[in-house]
Symmetry: C2
Subunit: 253 residues, 2 copies
């Protein structure tokens, strides 16, 4: 089969967030990633594959299109294209039906770098954190860069864009669980009492947690540096801080 | 002053490891990074700056060259160039004079991704780890990508390329300190006895620690996943594993 110019254009337009949201579809590339998605709760709409790859669609309910290597090059967002590209339905979450009260939940307040977001989704999966709440100005989890960098973890973690201040306010009315946030003036995380249930908010790379959300934090924590002199970097990258925070929370359970 | 074509070519050639090593010089760009390097033990050879930036070389012993914005564009390795580019001497370490026996030391066995190496150097600085030993097949710490991603930490941490198996053998003859390595079959790091002195080896992204170095490990450790079902990513990225390991080692001291 030959891919029409319109099809190529339509697939490439999914690199833009606005189009992804309008179509409700994102792109995933590479054998391993597509296989993980096929085995997950995510719903695949179409798979474009070159003849090298051996997949049959009999058992699945998606469109399977065999294309040439040259055609793959035209639709791939990767610098070196693979043998398979899938169009996957962006999951829709009804946040009122997600239980935030019985486990540890991550929340991201304006994380901007796709690589950081991808790493954080992967960390959540590693640490058994099922849900990440994101402010609407957090970088889009369904961009090709995040999808490729989180190595399939997007199919294992609920990444939910929401009005985070509203959700946190409601959370506080419904229970007494802590809402943690990382601040320079916070308590040393290594010596803090940490709960196995609650929300941990991580802030924007440059500005940290916004004032509106800071007001809703119930426990400020801080990851201290162990450098013995002033010759230390000034801050931890947000993905590294998330790794260390998740490790501290989870090891104590 | 006008930059000659030869100067532009010479600076650009420093993007290649072979030339950097032959010249003993690496490139650092951006006001903040260059300022950190100027305040460190590293030796700056030349600074190229546009007229916007206010630096005078009176107090320093390097060459200061004022160039145009167009010229900066021609020598910059960044997608958006800054106002300043420095040529800095690659530090030479005499490993026989570095004390490996009185603190925690990191060792990298073939880490390939420049972003991971930059993150690891930054983590070392944060956790007060002064020295990183690298196998010679570890990606070059002085490449523009690593230098820009480690945010000045290159001036705070000794990154030493060496014959790592030889160094580890010698280390074992000189003391009884542990050499740790991350392995799937290792002890749960959260429940292991960890020493405040020793060497922690982190392996290659795909293959982990090489068999030759595995033989020299005295304590195998493992960072366990906290996912409650099979729906977890299969492995932690090496930079994230380093963050978690450093946090575990250092919090106990």
């Amino acid at each position: 089969m030959m891919l029409s110019k319109n099809s190529i254009k339509a697939i490439n337009s999914l690199r833009v967030k606005k189009t992804r949201n309008a179509e409700g579809v994102f792109i995933a590339e590479g054998e391993r990633l597509v296989e993980e998605i096929l085995n997950s709760k995510l719903q695949v709409k179409s798979i474009y594959k070159t003849s090298i790859l051996n997949i049959t669609s009999k058992e699945f309910d998606f469109e399977l299109v065999e294309i040439t290597d040259d055609e793959m090059k035209k639709i791939s967002s990767l610098s070196s294209h693979s043998n398979v590209l899938a169009l996957v339905k962006i999951p829709e979450y009804d946040i009122s039906k997600i239980d935030l009260h019985n486990s540890l939940v991550l929340a991201l307040d304006g994380v901007q770098d796709p690589g950081n977001l991808g790493t954080i989704i992967r960390l959540a999966s590693w640490f058994g954190i099922d849900t990440i709440l994101c402010t609407n100005d957090t970088t889009d989890a369904y961009s090709p860069k995040v999808i490729q960098s989180c190595m399939g973890a997007i199919s294992m973690v609920n990444v939910i864009y929401c009005n985070l201040p509203e959700i946190l306010k409601e959370y506080r009315t419904k229970n007494n669980l802590p809402i943690y946030g990382a601040f320079l003036e916070g308590e040393d995380i290594y010596n803090s009492k940490l709960n196995s249930k609650g929300i941990v908010v991580m802030g924007n790379e440059g500005n940290g947690i916004s004032p509106e959300i800071e007001k809703l934090i119930t426990q400020k924590i801080h990851i201290p540096s162990f450098a013995t002199n002033r010759t230390a970097v000034e801050s931890l990258n947000v993905a590294m801080a998330t790794a260390i925070a998740c490790s501290e929370f989870k090891r104590r359970i």
